[in-house]
């Protein structure tokens, strides 16, 4: 009796797990690996550093905004667009499983946001540092 019921419970849990598993194209670590391949080809490449990424994320780069203007000081928290006030879901993968799971999306947002924050495109080194930092952020 007991064994049957617990078996059903586990079956249920497994079924729920299967149906709720999001079908992401990539994992954030795979995205990081792709960035590393790109960065490694550049001169002056250094191992990605979470500390450097955090610094990059939190300071201004000569323009009005930093990354934190929209994403806040805590990447695991919900952010808010500095201009429009639109809610922005957490950027850290630990708090938002959708983040950094689609390389095309990652590149689009880096292009758009680096333009806003730095007035230029980010280098693969900078992107890798930032993602390394975001991957260290706990929920």
């Amino acid at each position: 009796m007991f064994r049957y019921s617990s078996a059903f419970v586990w079956l249920g849990v497994a079924a729920m797990g299967l149906t709720t598993l999001p079908a992401f194209a990539q994992t954030p670590n795979e995205v990081l690996a792709t960035l590393k391949t790109a960065a490694a080809g550049e001169p002056n490449f250094q191992e990605f550093s979470a500390a450097r990424g955090e610094q990059f994320f939190k300071v201004k780069h000569g323009k009005e905004w930093s990354c934190t203007s929209c994403h806040t000081d805590n990447p695991a928290a919900q952010g808010k667009h500095a201009d429009t006030g639109k809610a922005i879901q957490p950027i850290a993968p630990s708090a938002n499983a959708e983040r950094f799971t689609d390389m095309a999306k990652v590149e689009k947002w880096f292009k758009r946001n680096c333009n806003d924050v730095l007035g230029r495109a980010c280098t693969p080194q900078e992107k890798g540092d930032v993602l390394s930092y975001l991957l260290t952020v706990k929920k």
Binding site: H81, D83, T84, G85, K86, K108, W109, K111, R112, N115, D116
Partner: protein, 379 residues
Amino acid sequence: MNQRVLVWDVPTRVFHWLFALSFAACWYVSESDLWLSFHTFFGYLMLGLIAFRLVWGFMGGHYTRFSEFLYSPLAGLRYLRQALSGSGARYIGHNPAGSQAVYLLLALGLVVGLTGMFAQGGEEQHGAVAGWLAVSTGIIFKEAHGYLAIVMLLVVIGHLAGVAMESWLHKENLPRSMVTGFKEAAQGSAVSKPHYGVGVALLAAAIAFGIWWFFYAWHEPVAKHLGYGGAQPGLHVAFVGPKLPDNAKWRDECGGCHLAFHPNLLPARSWQKLMDGQNKHFGTDLALDDATKAAVLAFLLNNAAEHSDREAAYKINRSIKASEAPLRITETPYWVKKHAEISDAIWRSPKVKTKSNCGACHEDAEAGTFEDAAMKIPK
């Protein structure tokens, strides 16, 4: 020797008081956008009641049949003159003047109900005749609806004055008769059958319609009001309307940084200009690849203001000069006019902050429908 006779059968009394209730309820909320679904419910109820009464005029109890009070308007006026001079004869059923009120109220109720239905079907694309008419035609029906309702109110006032006068003239309580159904009458006067079954069925049908309507239009907002969703206090009855065209790519791309403003809020030429300048979109390079840009633009152009049957789309589009292609919805003359009364304090309030934050007041901003009833200024 007088006796108590049943004059008004049960269905006629149920009809009368529900008709009166519907009219009063419609008037009471007629100026309120929030209560539009309430107004509409009683409008449909009124139409249903009138349809019943028209049939019942041929099948009902003795005094409720049209053949029993077929008086000409002239006969009505003549009776009115006699009554005013204190010499009007007493009628057990409808007197010639009161009959005019019956006919006028039935006719006006029908026309007011139908114009209301077509106003909503045209202007809001809602209800039983949604999509039958263009917004511009719906606006004409709405005007007619308002004027005819005033005429109907005048007839109701005349009816009430007549009832008061007759009650005083013949020393009998006419409103009570419409509740109990009975009047004093001479021996041998005709008697109506009560028709309990039909009366109960009519009442049950009205209640069933109310219950259905509750789940159709009120359940969700009321539930929200009572607990979840963090809704503001105050009963908010947003109305159910048709959904607008949607597109995942548009919602994803445009909704990333701000509300995904529905394409029907600007004309096609504005969207074309906006997407041509996507690399300098209000200071930001959207960095859209060509395929994405083309897909989003196609959705925007196909569903732009001039291709939409929504009220806001129609009015925004009409307000923009043909030579102009504004990039901000908030720059269109209709938007400016519509929001002129919003005070600076509201714009600056932390819940609003920016004019692009449509969702602060319009609950259905994400859906793009901008229903009258879904608008509420946050406190």
